[in-house]
């Protein structure tokens, strides 16, 4: 049937309210849902997974991280660390420029770090006691030198967390707050994408900068749209209408199945460096006894949890196997064995009596509830009297602040915030990091602290690996956690979209320069 232009116009006029608006489309658009809102895009304040998802596209750092956890050049073309590990010098790419076309210079790097120290939020905590005002200096326009206050081996691994700002653009809009108000809604970076629109709480749209200094590969993504929704029906309807290209990693199995059945989507699965633990409070009864902790580990049905309740990979030590060079492969997987658990419990100071124990988990999280019920079933067979304690996440962050309010058993996910084992060990087990939801074990063990500190000042990777392997053996021996699994991340992705690879740092997996559209 041929439709005359005039008739088409008339049809559109009649149906203007229902069909004809918004027909235009960018060349290659990827629409992804995200379950949390973007809090901030200011590089001095970004801290969580969702913040980094936007920032890694809007800004570039000196270095970035690949899917194997290796540091790779970004704004810096090369770098060198002094023999005493107290100085790191970066040379910037000659062709690196910001979105406004101005060159990226060493003074921009200095300004970015000085501003970060002044604001003292976001990634600033990574440099506490290591860098401070005056530690970063411009040697010349393309060379920047970091002088560390003490040797800190993971220093290079923390560098990708900081995105470089265009000093001129920010100081021109400095206001009275170091540009915080301006950078809350504007960008001043050298990233591959620029901010097109941002409806807080609903949607963010970024567009490709065709002049990006590193260029793009085949099939670049021209526009990325994030829609904030954790509603499964919304995700399905977006997919059915053709609008959705990629889901978040937090959809229900039903949604993944529904999208796969539509025929347009593949389910991409990747093992991650995020670990899921039962954190055992080592300072309250009954988990203050190592035999009780070991008994709980032996009474855990790993196969059911990993294969049925929450699909994931094997976790034998506190460190996921993604850190292959540092992982202690000699430590075997604990086997589910109720008889062995009973024998272990018999050695504890609580033997011969009913042992009350509190199992905490995040209220409203179905899989955590199922795991907690499974644990209750197993633990009550070997002599525990279980009390379930579901708490909202807000409450958990608060009760984690004190030994006496932290439950004996807690289900917690933790992943690296920078690609170094230090990120896993320091935040969870060092005494200086106690009192957060990430350290509900309250390990506070001088020997553990000493090993973590020693690894921090050991520049040689082989030496570091030896320390971390010993540390894993020590932690497995004192059993502050039950090592449940490593998280498997999955996305339903349009079959034309490729490039998803899990990266062991924040949400660097969603740097869309790494993705491509393969359909013509």
């Amino acid at each position: 049937m041929i439709i005359r232009p005039s008739r088409l116009f008339a049809s559109c006029a009649v149906a203007a309210l229902f069909a004809c608006a918004g027909a235009a489309s960018a060349e290659t658009v990827v629409t992804m849902n995200t379950v949390q809102i973007f809090g901030t895009i200011d590089p001095a304040k970004i801290s969580d997974y969702t913040d980094y998802m936007a920032a890694v596209n809007l800004y570039d750092g000196l270095l970035t991280v690949d899917s194997s956890g290796n540091l790779v050049p970004e704004l810096a073309e090369s770098w060198a660390v002094s023999d005493d590990a107290r100085e790191a010098t970066f040379t910037l790419r000659a062709d690196a420029h910001f979105a406004d076309g101005s060159p990226v210079e060493a003074s921009d790097v200095v300004y970015t770090f000085e501003r970060l120290f002044r604001i003292n939020q976001g990634p600033a905590n990574l440099f506490a006691g290591v860098l401070s005002a005056g530690s970063v200096e411009a040697v010349d326009a393309r060379t920047v030198k970091f002088t560390l206050e003490k040797p800190f081996a993971p220093f290079l691994a923390t560098i990708p967390a900081v995105f470089i700002l265009n000093e001129d653009a920010v100081t021109a809009n400095e206001g009275g707050d170091d540009g915080q108000t301006w950078l809350a809604t504007n960008t001043a970076g050298a990233g591959a994408y620029t901010l097109k629109s941002w409806e807080r709480g609903a949607r963010m749209v970024i567009v490709r900068d065709p002049n990006y200094y590193k260029g793009f590969g085949d099939g670049p993504i021209d526009e990325v749209r994030w829609i904030v929704t954790n509603d499964e029906a919304t995700v399905k309807s977006l997919a059915a209408s053709g609008e959705l290209t990629m889901t978040s990693q937090y959809q229900s199995p039903d949604t993944y199945k529904a999208l796969e059945d539509m025929g347009r989507f593949n389910i991409a699965k990747e093992a991650t460096a995020t670990a899921f633990y039962l954190k055992l409070n080592t300072k309250v009864a009954p988990t203050d006894d190592v035999h009780v902790r070991r008994a709980i580990a032996l009474a855990t049905d790993y196969d059911t949890i990993r294969e049925v309740i929450l699909p994931g990979g094997e976790l034998t030590t506190p460190l996921p196997k993604a850190f292959a060079d540092f992982h202690n492969d000699d430590i075997p997987q604990v086997a589910y064995d109720l008889e062995a658990a009973k024998a272990e419990l018999a050695q504890s100071k609580y033997a011969g009596q009913e042992i009350p124990i509190v199992l905490g988990y995040v209220a409203g999280t179905k899989f955590e509830e199922e795991i907690s019920l499974l644990m209750q079933s197993n633990l009550e067979q070997i002599g525990f009297k279980v009390t379930q304690q579901p708490d909202p996440w807000n409450r958990i962050t608060e009760i984690a602040g004190k030994v006496e309010t932290t439950p004996a058993v807690n289900q917690v996910f933790f992943g690296p915030t920078y690609p170094s084992p230090d990120s896993m060990f320091y935040t969870q087990y060092h005494s200086n990091a106690a009192g957060t939801w990430a350290s509900m074990e309250w390990v506070q063990d001088p020997e553990v602290d000493a090993m973590i500190d020693k690894a921090r000042v050991t520049g040689d990777p082989a030496g570091q690996a030896a320390i971390y392997k010993e540390l894993q053996a020590k932690l497995v021996d004192i059993q502050p956690d039950v090592f449940l699994l490593t998280q498997t991340v999955q996305h339903a992705m349009d079959k034309c979209l490729t490039g998803f690879k899990a990266v062991p740092m924040q949400s660097f997996d969603y740097d869309f320069t790494r993705y491509s559209w393969t359909c013509k």
Partner: protein, 341 residues
């Protein structure tokens, strides 16, 4: 003069209500579990950083001092900064309030347009099938939670039929900078942007329908009951005896005096939905203040929680005041009673 005195008294009481509200919410927000600074900075933040942010926010000061700071800021129209969005709460509310207002306005509009005629039909054909149909609809609409209806509509219109957009206020392809009011429909008409108008209306249909169903049923039932009561008045019988045409009796002598209860309900719904539309806003990724309010509560973003509650409170009180005035206009007896008191 009496009416002015009545108004001043009402405004005075309203201000007292708002002061009470601010105190109650301020203290409740502070006893809700969670350390705002720790939640904002994340688990890797050092204790010193958390302490520094608590100092900056004044959270280490006695609670009465904190309240005094809050009232001081409020008096200057400054609601403080949000920890969730890292912006002034005023800016967040300025951005999100119009979205919620537009959604709720559309909801009330739909409830009025459909609810009142349904009530009139039911009353006019009392105990016959139109009445039964309206009453059945009203019951189903009242007992169906808005979130369930929202998901149902989304699946039906978005997933199965694919005829209406299911998220946001505008399609991403539509390039448009909101006008001075932030109300897309109003601004787009004022600017002659008919493409934006069409797109905005399409985006409004599903969330407004999900929110409007219960109110529509309620309005229909109340209009019906009120009209049936009025129809038993002597003056209606007199009008019939004098041969006043049926449509004139129905609309002029019956509907107008029957209009006070549904109008009151509409006003109250308008005000309460400003804060209560959050479930529908979350389902449809609607960038409104209600969803913003829920997120700030979960994040224990104290300034933002206070800001949202205060704005909702002011709106609620204002709408109630306006309803009182409107009711007085619609029903002169209320004005007369007001003068006598």
């Amino acid at each position: 003069m009496e009416f002015l005195s009545f108004l001043l008294r009402r405004v005075g009481w309203s201000l007292l209500v708002l002061v009470g509200l601010s105190m109650v919410i301020f203290f409740i927000a502070r006893i809700v579990p969670g350390d705002p600074a720790r939640m904002a900075l994340g688990p890797t933040a050092t204790a010193e950083q958390v302490e520094a942010l608590n100092d900056k926010l004044g959270l280490n000061k006695p609670i009465t001092v904190q309240y005094a700071y809050f009232v001081g800021g409020l008096a200057q129209g400054d609601l403080g900064r949000s920890l969730l969005t890292e912006r002034a709460v005023n800016d967040d509310i300025r951005d999100t309030f119009p979205a919620t207002f537009e959604l709720v306005f559309a909801t009330i509009f739909m409830a009025f347009v459909f609810g009142v005629p349904m009530g009139v039909v039911a009353a006019n054909w009392k105990d016959r099938w139109p009445d039964t149909a309206v009453r059945l609809f009203a019951i189903f609409a009242a007992v169906t939670p808005s979130f369930f209806l929202a998901i149902l509509l989304q699946v039906l219109a978005g997933y199965v039929l694919g005829v209406l957009p299911t998220t946001g206020r505008l399609s991403p392809d539509v390039v448009y900078t909101a006008g001075p009011t932030g109300l897309l429909i109003f601004d787009s008409i004022a600017q002659g942007r008919w493409d934006v108008l069409g797109d905005a209306v399409r985006h409004l249909i599903l969330p407004a329908t999900a929110l409007a169903a219960a109110t529509t049923g309620q309005i229909a039932r109340i209009t019906r009951a009120s009209m049936i009561d009025t129809s038993r008045q002597d003056y209606i019988e007199a009008a019939r005896a004098f041969g006043v045409p049926g449509w004139l009796r129905l609309f002029k002598y019956n509907l107008r005096p029957s209009f006070v209860p549904p109008l009151t309900i509409l006003g109250l719904e308008f005000a309460s939905l400003i804060g209560g539309a959050f479930v529908v806003e979350l389902v449809f990724a609607w960038p409104g203040m209600a969803a913003y309010g829920i997120r700030t509560i979960l994040q224990k973003d104290l300034n933002a929680v206070m800001g949202v509650v205060m704005v909702s409170g002011v709106f609620f009180v204002t709408v109630n005041l306006v309803i009182d005035i409107l009711v007085g206009i619609v029903d002169p007896r209320v004005r007369i009673r007001g003068k006598r008191t």
